[in-house]
Symmetry: C2
Subunit: 155 residues, 2 copies
Amino acid sequence: MIFSQTAEYALRAIVWLADHDGAAQTTQQIAAATHVPPDYLSKVLQALGRADLVRSQRGLGGGFSLTREPEAITILQVINAVDPLKRITTCPLGLKTHGKNLCPLHRKLDDATAAIEEAFAATSVAEVLRTPTNSHPLCEATVGGRAAKQGSSRG
Amino acid sequence: MIFSQTAEYALRAIVWLADHDGAAQTTQQIAAATHVPPDYLSKVLQALGRADLVRSQRGLGGGFSLTREPEAITILQVINAVDPLKRITTCPLGLKTHGKNLCPLHRKLDDATAAIEEAFAATSVAEVLRTPTNSHPLCEATVGGRAAKQGSSRG
DNA sequence: TGAATAGTGGATATCAACATCCACTTGACC
DNA sequence: GGTCAAGTGGATGTTGATATCCACTATTCA
């Protein structure tokens, strides 16, 4: 994958939270639902908290919830919260005369990164949930074609 | 970077070879020119050899050269030789009911990967060298606007 | 044939990403 | 206040990518 495992985990968690807005979800619940190692997910959620994408609540009945509407969260924000998409801004070889003036090779590589960045900046978490498909994010498909929203469903 | 360091090294080596077609380039020469650790570059070149992108010649006067014209080598081929761009073909959570039917989240992620793949498959090494720019690949810029092609130039 | 050049490939070292563990703090409820 | 649920954060373990080392083989040239 061209994205890190951590970014994948973060996206799963955010999508799960968006799909369960209202009640706070515990790390254990999210971990079970998203198939992410619980202790590692804990760290990922902390990073998402630092980026102000989720808020945490300690104590009984606590857990994590989104700080804003899924419409207002982009895939890029989630990825950048845990594993920033690094653009190529200066010559990787350290050539002084290149400076900001990337050679065609690195121009190409950075263009590709930029394209990804744009696409992800233009995609909200809400859009991901809204997209009609046979497979609901993080859930096993149901006979009705639309996956169950609660319960022990996984995905 | 969304590409591995190894992929970056491989591209530098291929571009250098394309820019110096004719005479075989030793690992040391390529390493010095591309600012890649020589012993590691050796492994990268071996991988490029296995992918039949370069040929090697042992002994005095030996070194590496391209197996074909720069027009016939794409960036994608180079990257895939050392660090294959992995597409998402099945649900990363292992949900059986998803199968090939990716949920919208993974559909988006794979679409992004596919876009990169396409862009790189459509770009030849020759095109990279041909692109008019102030910075020649792997070379310090010269006053004339076009970088030197031989000698101790670096990039 | 001998010496020098240069790639090959296996063993090992280093480092960051990924993952786990656990003592501590916070908060809800009785 | 006591107890339990739940997040926090530091320490540690694991693994794969990156990097280094070196003995060996192939090739050229005198």
